[in-house]
């Protein structure tokens, strides 16, 4: 299993669009930053045929340190969740994507 990083994504933009390598990398960063900023402000980010990133509010609950067994309160917090689209799920299993799914 290989790991793809920013470098390979920037290279793909470079190959597809024909911008300089530097500008390709900067645009990738710009895209990630805009998605992050939207999520930071609590707005969901919906990418069709890929999936939806959304922010969920979690209430306070009592947790436990698994090592010591001491109870500790877990404060209310906001967590990020990603819901893959039907298209992405189908692609992972080599299935044809039915027209009309998103």
């Amino acid at each position: 299993m290989n790991t793809i990083t920013r470098a390979q994504l920037a290279e793909a933009i470079y190959a597809q669009v024909g911008l300089s390598r530097n500008e390709s990398a900067a645009l990738l960063e710009d895209v990630l930053e805009r998605i992050s900023a939207a999520l930071e402000s609590g707005r969901p980010v919906k990418i069709s045929a890929f999936g939806t990133f959304s922010v969920r509010q979690k209430g306070m609950r009592v947790g436990r340190n698994p090592k010591t067994g001491v109870e500790v309160p877990i404060m209310p917090r906001r967590v990020l969740s990603f819901r893959p689209s039907q298209v992405l799920k189908a692609r992972l299993n080599g299935e044809a994507v039915r027209a009309g799914d998103e």
């Binding site: 805009r34 930071e40 992972l92």
Partner: protein, 109 residues
Amino acid sequence: MTKSELIAQLAAANPHLRQPDVELIVGTIFDEITNALARGDRVELRGFGAFSAKQRDPRTGRNPRTGEAVEVSGKSVPYFKPGKELRERVNGGPLQAPKRSPRGTVTPS
């Protein structure tokens, strides 16, 4: 924010790029991530998060309408683990250790 709003924002911030190029840039990013996952590779974007495919074992499911048992084959499902930096931003800044008052003192209210 939707994909088209993201494209519009990016186009406005980069007036030297043509709209079709901006669409191609955004499309390429998500296509590359999708292709990597379909090949079984993972995608790690430090500070943002990591995309990977998790394997689900075959199981015996039930048709919820008829209650009939059906074999569900194993499959691969996409998974996203947010990076530390993004997790903290979404939660409103770096995580803090729970505040506690020094032993034996009363916290003024």
